[in-house]
């Protein structure tokens, strides 16, 4: 009779207890699986929103702006914009390229001024980037080369403007003078992110270039990479090389991870995840230790007999660990399946926190409030490893106890 056979028999001898141990591991593994998918989903949506609305995968900006936390002054923008866009577009792995200008402007309303932020872009280039067309609640996107404007919904409310109205503004231009602009409101957008919807408006690049005296200039050029989130560093290198070989040494390519605080700010989340994992592990391990210790103590006499028959300490340890491994394996598979199923289901429906957060109207969160868990293969692999580690790690102590019982003493004891 081989070891696995013997271990399997022992495991099945006390079905109730085995089920109990299994449940503990299943719960831990399933929770771990779901948690991983949930946190991945949250972080990805947070990153995705940041990348989509601001950073791109890689952003080209004037080298002087890299260290700045405020918008670049208009006179320090990227010159020869059409050439830069062409170079970026022809760089390998870049799928979308869109130049933008962000400019601050005081918009006058009846009783005061609103510090607003204009985003000038080429609407047809933004379909796969900002993707604002999906968030329009009224009207449509401005079209290229017109004097049309789209407003954030809260800003529109504040200004008392709707589709069809006109908006006049004075913004300082790249020479420090005041550039007038008269725009026609064609759309209202609700991105779901309060601080944008209260402050931002969107105009075609050509109109802004004219108003701000920035012919063939932009403040930034946002690039999307075919290989996604993690392709940004590679793409940055390639963009830098192609820009440098064309003589654009004063334009820098910055991956999204190095823009602002978004990437670093998820570190506390990772810490909490680690802590929860540790606790889940301890909890499951306690149960496994308890049940296996109990079965070892109950089998003292039997283990004594095995030892008397000439089983070595190593063999006894192996036997106990094999039992734990068998339970752990079954439990891990069930746990992963449950955790993945729940995560995959919620990945379709999403978990909506909008209602919960409705009381905190003025608290601006830089992410959307519906979270879609995002399980992947690594999620399953990590959880499976975690489950087996708990089972084997926790069985180690009872296994040591089992061999410590001397054969004679074990036989005498009941």
């Amino acid at each position: 009779m081989n070891m696995i056979h013997l271990a399997a028999r022992n495991v099945l001898r006390q079905p109730k207890r085995t089920v109990y141990t299994t449940i503990a591991i299943v719960v831990a593994v399933a929770a771990m699986t779901f948690m991983d998918a949930y946190i991945r989903g949250f972080i990805e949506s947070y990153f995705e929103t940041f990348i989509r609305l601001d950073a791109g995968h890689v952003k080209l900006m004037p080298s002087t702006s890299v260290e700045r936390s405020r918008p670049t002054p208009l006179d320090q923008g990227i010159q020869h914009l059409n050439e830069v866009v062409r170079i970026a577009e022809s760089t390998e792995g870049i799928t979308d390229v869109s130049p933008r200008i962000r400019f601050p402007v005081l918009l006058e309303k009846e009783t005061g001024v609103i510090p607003a932020m204009g985003i000038a872009f080429i609407p047809s280039r933004e379909e796969n980037l900002m993707n604002l067309q999906s968030f329009i609640i009224e009207g449509r996107m401005p079209t290229d080369s017109t004097d049309e404007i789209m407003l954030g919904n809260r800003l529109a409310e504040e200004l008392g403007l709707g589709v069809g109205d006109e908006l006049f503004m004075l913004a300082s231009d790249s020479y420090g003078g005041l550039g007038p602009g008269l725009y026609q409101v064609v759309g209202i957008v609700n991105t779901g992110i309060g601080m944008l919807d209260r402050r931002q408006f969107y105009v075609p690049l050509s109109a802004a270039q004219f108003q701000l005296a920035m012919d063939d200039m932009a403040l930034e050029v946002v690039c999307k990479v075919a290989s996604g989130l993690n392709g940004s560093f590679e793409a940055k290198e390639r963009l830098r090389n192609s820009l440098a070989s064309a003589g654009f040494t004063n334009v820098s390519a910055v991956p999204w991870q190095e823009q602002g605080f978004v990437y670093q700010s998820v570190q506390p989340v990772n810490f909490v995840r680690g802590l929860l994992m540790f606790l889940l592990g301890i909890l499951a391990a306690t149960t496994v230790i308890n049940t296996i210790l109990m079965s070892v103590i109950e089998r003292t006499r039997e283990i004594g007999a095995l030892r008397a028959m000439g089983f070595t300490r190593g063999t006894v340890i192996k036997l106990i660990l094999t039992e734990a491994f068998l339970i752990g394996l079954v439990a891990t598979i069930i746990g992963v399946v449950i955790g993945m199923s729940v995560a995959l289901f919620l990945a379709q429906t999403g978990i909506d926190y909008t209602k919960m957060a409705s009381g905190m109207d003025n608290f601006d969160l830089p992410f959307r409030l519906v979270i879609y868990p995002d399980p992947n293969v690594m999620t399953a692999v990590k959880s499976a490893f975690f489950g087996l580690l708990i089972a084997l790690g926790a069985a180690w102590y009872p296994a040591r106890v089992a061999v410590r019982l001397q054969p004679v003493e074990a036989l005498r004891h009941n």
Partner: protein
């Protein structure tokens, strides 16, 4: 006595299991302590900053101003000095100061940014607020001079230095945009991110010229001898000066306070997940403990130990486990918290992000005695509750079966 001895010796007997079981709860307790201290520290520091740089104790606002996102000068208190002279000599009042706030743009060469321009009476304002004490470079402004004080981050981001001449444009009360050149006299760092990033201070006389107003204010700020006097004082002002809306700083910080409460709830939910996990661990260990000692339970019952005595043995075992875990958790949690309350938690990584607290630089957790007491109670109760089922089962088993088969 014997019950206590039995309980504690049984815990000692399975040291490893006891430690493992206690670890989960201890960890939960230490997280509880840290989280509570963090929130307490956040609140205390925030309150200080609110009062010192933004709200004072009681603030008078023109009606309707508070409801506007970006209120203009239409919302203002005229003849502010009349009100101030009527208020400043009242008992309990330390100081009263007017402020005139305008949204505008700041220009330096081709740099530009939004700012909130605050016209202040330097003498009076420094009696109410600590803003002028926070000047880290250059000097505070004085009455009547053509000078401006700007926030540290603003200065750093735009490369502004003391002595630079900048242009500030605001919309005057009649409605025209009104630019004005001013010399940067000082740079302030208060540790209140809004102030350090978006605000600039000019003497009230300059603000009047920019706004084309005289003796008007957008707020009247009052500092009292004691924080506790806020509400009655607000009430008396509200009945006397009905043309002005009077608010205590707590009312003005209502959004913040409700968010702070929501944060507490969120943390409590997370901690209760920890606690449930820890409780499951304890329940499991107690179950095993009862199972292992079935024969012993039978023996005790045969000798005439009552059901309640048997139950109390196991409940006490759970309670001691909870006590040990809570103590361990208190030590770990307090040590960690106290270390950070000296070192501070750097908030520099979040610069420029609205993290919902009026703090920059560093956050110092505050370990309050209540937190410790609460977590101790919480740990013990948790452990006793988790032991309840097993303890009851131990007391209810059939004695004969327990003795014969070692099974309940």
């Amino acid at each position: 006595m014997m019950v206590l001895r039995l309980a504690s010796r049984n815990l000692m007997r399975n040291k490893k299991r006891t430690i493992l079981t206690a670890t989960a709860l201890a960890l939960g307790i230490s997280v509880l302590i840290f989280a509570m201290s963090l929130l307490d520290g956040m609140d205390l520091q925030s309150f200080e900053n609110f009062i010192a740089y933004d709200m004072a104790h009681v603030k008078g606002l023109p009606p309707g101003r508070q409801d506007e996102d970006f209120p203009g000068l239409d919302f203002r208190i005229d003849n502010a000095s009349d009100f101030i002279s009527q208020i400043e000599n009242r008992p309990g009042v330390l100081a009263v100061a007017p402020r005139l706030e305008m949204n505008g743009m700041l220009y330096l060469r081709t740099e530009e940014t939004f700012i909130r321009v605050m016209g202040i009476d330097p003498v009076k304002d420094s009696q109410v607020f600590k803003t002028l004490d926070a000047v880290v470079d250059g000097e505070p402004i004085t009455n009547g001079e053509d000078a401006i004080l700007i926030g540290f981050y603003l200065a750093r981001d735009l490369g502004i230095e003391v002595g630079d001449i900048i242009t500030v444009m605001v919309r005057s009360a009649p409605g025209a945009l009104n630019p004005r050149q001013l010399t940067v006299k000082g740079i302030m760092a208060c540790g209140h991110p809004d102030v350090d990033q978006f605000e600039a201070y000019v003497p009230l006389s300059v603000a009047y010229q920019m706004a084309l107003l005289y003796d008007s204010a957008t707020e009247i700020d009052i500092l009292l001898e004691h924080e506790s006097m806020c509400e009655p004082f607000r009430d008396s002002l509200a009945s006397e000066f009905q043309s002005i809306e009077w608010h205590t700083w707590r009312e003005l910080a209502a959004d913040f306070l409700s968010i702070s409460k929501a944060k507490r709830v969120a943390w409590l939910i997370m901690i209760s997940i920890f606690a449930i996990m820890a409780a499951v661990g304890i329940a499991n260990t107690m179950m095993m403990s009862v199972h292992e000692r079935t024969r012993e339970i039978g023996t005790l019952r045969a000798f005439g130990f009552s059901k309640s005595t048997v139950r109390s043995i196991f409940l006490l075992e759970g309670a001691i486990l909870g006590l040990l875990a809570s103590f361990a958790g208190m030590i770990i949690g307090s040590a960690f918290t106290l270390y950070l309350s000296v070192e501070g938690i750097s908030l520099k990584a979040y610069e420029g992000m609205d993290i919902g607290v009026p703090l920059s630089d560093a956050l110092y957790p505050a370990l309050l005695p209540n937190t410790l007491l609460l977590s101790l109670l919480f740990g013990i109760l948790m452990a006793v509750a988790a032991s309840w089922g097993s303890a009851t089962r131990a007391s209810k088993g059939e004695i004969i079966k327990a003795l014969r088969e070692g099974m309940l």
